[in-house]
């Protein structure tokens, strides 16, 4: 597909002169794909609104406003409390839907813009005809593009029309958040679902582009094990630190190092998703960790130069780096920090200015130039020795200034007892600060609240010196998509329920009780032979969790997409491979057409594919759109109490029987369904709640009795272990006698009897009437 424009000032033809001719052909489709197209290629929000309404009537959005006000236009501020409306007529419920839509638009825009930047640069370098070749084990290369856009991309240039379609949808949906547009919360939510579906399209485009162009693993389960942790960075060497999500600048650093034969002399370290993608690019790259390590690592003064690209980069990186005389190179138009654009200056001049601290940093829009400048500056500054690290003695003296005003406490969402730690540190005892290391999310809000400007983050670092030195483990490099052959192997056991579920750990590190909970949860499901997969910051934090022998989860469990295995699919944009895997189950295993066929595939996944996402530390707008995109596809997500600040959940009510009605696709009859999956977006109030909920949300109406037995075994067992009793809703998930796990028959029978349980038929479930056979 391509866009063609013909322009002529004047043409002489047999019919006469034609002046000012301009012809533009939006798309030329060269059709080599014989799959029948479904009803919704390139869907508009209205094309899938009925599907959304089905979901939203079952999982009614529930809002917990963060604020009573609307501050979006000059009519306001408008107070929406107590049933009041704003000057534009909007009420509190619709306003919440509007904020959700805005968040999802921002999230999708971040991925879409990231995808466009990658695609344009890679096309410029390799040409639009560069093939998308993911190897012979991946034939369904772009499940989300096929499903949503209705095209089958073969070369990089084929991704442009899909991207343009998504950009158009995004613009349209964002416009609905303007004052005086949508007024219904349900329709705001439908639009949020739509733009979040687009987000999964954007993510897939971004990751496909980089996978096609860069030497990443191509779905191999045995992707290399990479060093991860603050302790794995050799601070005696020059260190280039890359922060953000766009791999291209960091990749050029690696290329420059290789070209100069300096790979062993300079450390290239990454934070956040750039780190994951650098580790896909080269196993010599090291991963410091997720974004929660950003401020702490900068404060350590280990980095000689910092490269920032885009997304989840602290707004004060330049300010923080300059305190340590560390220059910053900004590389994209998303983050410029008011730095001068030095892209056209001679490299020697830029290097000289940064090394001699004549400039705090530079904006360089040429990745190759960034690669050379970053390495040369890091080498020179490392020779000179720079930075003003605070010693423990100095920090101890600073701690004596604490007046115990408690402002830090009122800024710390982790409830860390900083005043007491400060008192002890003033006496030279940093042990309480050390204990904060694993709980602190590294936001630094405590410091900005402190009237004495105490460097509390440095104090935690100082207390945890030894811990940081030993913070070394292994993360499997992001493998990318699940291979088609793996889907063939696990498709039947997933759909029939014999693999108890797919648990995906996704999202950011804003954890209420420390990142260890994520590792603990993953291990529980791995040992129970669920398929466990991970992406982004969660994939990094899972690596940090180690057993008594110091072995990490990636070393203990294979990287396949199979029961009892842990696969890291990659960075944020690789989340599309998790949704893509669910879509591929419908396509490869069940033979359903993907092309422009969203509703049917989502209906299939909702009723048959027991997959659940756990976004335990989700904080960003991207996490909002990622989760909401999963939700539209019928995949529930579980978040922690922190994420109640997203303001909205999608809960089902097991006692509202009418909301669970569905069609039996065999007979066309409307039947009572089960409350499965019970919720679509659930806030677990504790780790234990999340574990039990994840097992329960894997239950699907289509499970065979054998599969249901397996799922119930896990649900009951985990409930007993973590909640201390049999689940009270067990009777809702037993359809027939054969669903009851053999080893639990007696205790389950007792409950069934108490609840007056009766056997139910097992339908061939669908929410979509047109999917009834014969219609």
């Amino acid at each position: 597909m391509s866009t063609t424009r013909i322009k002529a000032d004047e043409i002489e033809t047999s019919m006469g002169k034609i002046k000012g001719l301009e012809i533009s052909v939006g798309k030329l489709i060269s059709e080599e794909w014989d799959e029948a197209c479904g009803p919704t290629p390139e869907p508009s929000p209205l094309d899938l609104r009925k599907w959304d309404q089905k979901l939203l009537s079952r999982y009614k959005p529930m809002y917990a406003p963060f604020c009573d006000m609307c501050c979006l236009c000059t009519y306001g501020k408008c107070d929406l409390s107590d049933g009041k409306k704003g000057a534009c007529g909007i009420g509190i419920e619709a306003q919440q839907g509007r904020i959700i839509l805005l968040a999802c638009c921002i999230g999708a825009a971040a991925h879409g813009a990231h995808g466009r930047e990658l695609l344009e640069k890679l096309i410029k370098k390799l040409g639009p005809d560069h093939p998308i070749d993911l190897g012979d084990k991946i034939a369904v290369e772009a499940p989300m593009v096929r499903l949503i856009h209705g095209s089958k991309p073969k070369v990089l240039g084929d991704l442009i029309p899909a991207l343009e379609y998504g950009e158009g949808e995004l613009m349209n949906l964002l416009s609905a958040a303007h004052t005086g547009q949508e007024g219904s919360a349900v329709d705001f939510e439908s639009k949020a679902l739509h733009v979040s579906m687009i987000d999964h399209l954007f993510m897939e485009i971004a990751d496909l582009a980089q996978m096609a162009a860069l030497p990443y693993p191509r779905g191999e389960a045995d992707a290399p094990l990479i060093d991860i942790g603050m302790g794995c960075i050799d601070s005696d060497k020059p260190v280039v630190l890359a922060i953000g999500h766009n791999v291209l600048p960091g990749a050029e650093v690696m290329d420059y190092l290789e070209k100069q034969g300096m790979e062993d002399d300079v450390e290239l370290a990454g934070i956040c998703c750039t780190a994951i993608d650098l580790s896909r690019y080269s196993k010599a790259a090291k991963v410091v960790g997720p974004l929660s390590k950003q401020l702490r690592f900068i404060r350590m003064g280990v980095a000689d130069v910092i490269i920032v690209d885009e997304q989840c980069v602290r707004a004060d990186v330049l300010e923080e780096a300059n305190k340590l005389d560390t220059p910053v190179i900004a590389t994209t138009d998303k983050i410029c920090y008011n730095l001068p654009d030095r892209s056209d200056d001679p490299i020697d001049d830029v290097v000289g200015d940064l090394v001699e601290h004549r400039a705090q940093g530079a904006l360089i829009r040429d990745e190759e130039m960034t690669g050379e400048v970053a390495v040369r500056v890091a080498v020179e500054l490392n020779k000179k020795g720079h930075g003003k690290r605070l010693t423990k003695e100095r920090l101890s003296k600073m701690a004596t200034r604490c007046t115990k005003c408690g402002a830090c406490l009122r800024a710390c969402q982790c409830d860390l007892d900083i005043p007491t730690a400060m008192e002890r540190a003033s006496e030279g005892d940093f042990s309480l600060f050390e204990s904060f290391y694993d709980q602190c999310i590294g936001c630094g809000r405590c410091e900005t609240a402190c009237p004495q400007h105490s460097p509390i983050v440095n104090m935690i670092n100082a207390g945890a010196e030894e811990k940081i030195r030993n913070e070394k483990s292994k993360m499997r490099a992001g493998r990318g998509p699940v291979q088609d052959v793996e889907i063939r192997e696990v498709g039947a056991p997933i759909v029939l329920g014999e693999i108890p579920g797919i648990i995906a750990f996704v999202g950011c590190p804003n954890y209420p009780n420390g990142y260890k909970e994520v590792g603990e949860m993953a291990k529980i499901f791995l040992d129970r032979r669920f398929i466990v997969t991970a992406s982004g910051c969660s994939a990094m934090d899972l690596a940090t969790y180690t057993d008594e022998d110091g072995k990490g989860l990636y070393e203990l469990y294979p990287g396949d997409f199979d029961g009892g295995c842990l696969s890291n699919v990659g960075s944020c944009v690789a989340n599309s491979h998790i949704s893509g895997a669910a879509v591929k189950v419908a396509s490869i295993f069940a033979g359903r057409n993907l092309r422009g066929n969203f509703e049917e595939i989502a209906d299939y996944i909702l009723n048959r594919v027991g997959a659940v996402g756990i976004a335990w530390g989700a904080y960003s707008q991207k996490a909002a759109s990622i989760a909401t995109g999963f939700n539209r596809l019928g995949i529930p997500a579980i978040v922690s109490t922190e994420s109640s600040k997203y303001r909205r959940t999608f809960l089902g009510r097991e006692d509202k029987e009418e909301t669970w009605e569905l069609y039996d696709a065999r007979t066309g009859e409307e039947v009572k369904g089960e409350p499965a999956p019970l919720h679509l977006l659930y806030v677990a109030d504790s780790k234990e709640d999340a574990i039990v909920a994840a097992a329960k949300l894997c239950i699907r109406p289509n499970d065979t009795s054998k599969g249901r037995q397996i799922k119930l075994t896990h649900y009951v067992d985990l409930h007993k272990k973590y909640m201390g009793a049999l689940p009270e809703d067990l009777h809702l998930f037993v359809r027939t006698e054969s669903d009851i796990p053999i080893t639990m028959k007696d205790e389950i029978h007792a409950i069934l009897e108490e609840k007056g349980w009766e056997e139910k038929n097992i339908p061939d479930p669908t929410l979509v009437e047109r999917l009834v056979r014969g219609r």
């Binding site: 009573d68 409830d415 677990a684 109030d685």
Partner: protein, 175 residues
């Protein structure tokens, strides 16, 4: 009752804020409520809430619902809740105008929270404030919760323990 500032400075929702009360005023509010629901969150396990829960529970027409994680704490303290349920699932019922309560006796006019992280409780209070069909809410934690209808102010540990003890006595009919 007066006003104060949210414990987290950034948590100011708008002008409609909780009235700040002490034990005596909380006792009065509880006393004039006809159907009370006490929601005990997952942190009651860590924070020694059991005695206060028992006392509030003993107030007539009070339903106790606890986070499922607290089952062993409840058993250990001989507390018998009316239901174990995730806090969000409880709120999903509170925002349902047709919900008849755990005992079928009708909606609750006062919902009290204990044992929850500050920010999570704040969100739940906001939910009740906007979508609770007139139900009032109360925080018994030592940190001011502006989204509730009634809250203690920002108290230090000692003062707060004294207030809880006083409230327990008042509710128990000791004064």
């Amino acid at each position: 009752m007066a006003e104060t500032t949210a414990w987290y400075f950034g948590n100011e929702p708008g002008h409609l804020k909780a009235l700040v009360g002490d034990a005596v005023q909380m006792d009065r509010v509880i006393g004039r409520s006809s159907r009370i629901m006490l929601v005990a969150g997952p942190k009651v396990a860590d924070e020694g809430w059991a005695p206060a829960i028992s006392v509030v529970r003993s107030v007539p027409h009070t339903t106790l619902v606890m986070s499922p994680k607290t089952r062993s704490v409840a058993a250990g303290e001989d507390i018998h809740p009316d239901a174990y349920m995730n806090v969000l699932e409880v709120m999903d019922r509170v925002r349902d105008p047709y919900w008849k309560g755990f005992d079928g006796g009708g909606r609750y006019d006062l919902i009290i929270f204990v044992g929850m992280d500050y920010y999570f409780a704040s969100q739940m209070f906001s939910l009740i404030k906007h979508f609770g069909y007139g139900a009032k809410s109360m925080s018994l934690e030592p940190r001011y919760q502006p989204n509730a209808s009634y809250s203690f102010g920002n108290l230090n540990q000692k003062l707060w323990e004294e207030e809880i003890e006083k409230l327990s006595k008042l509710l128990g009919g000791d004064d």
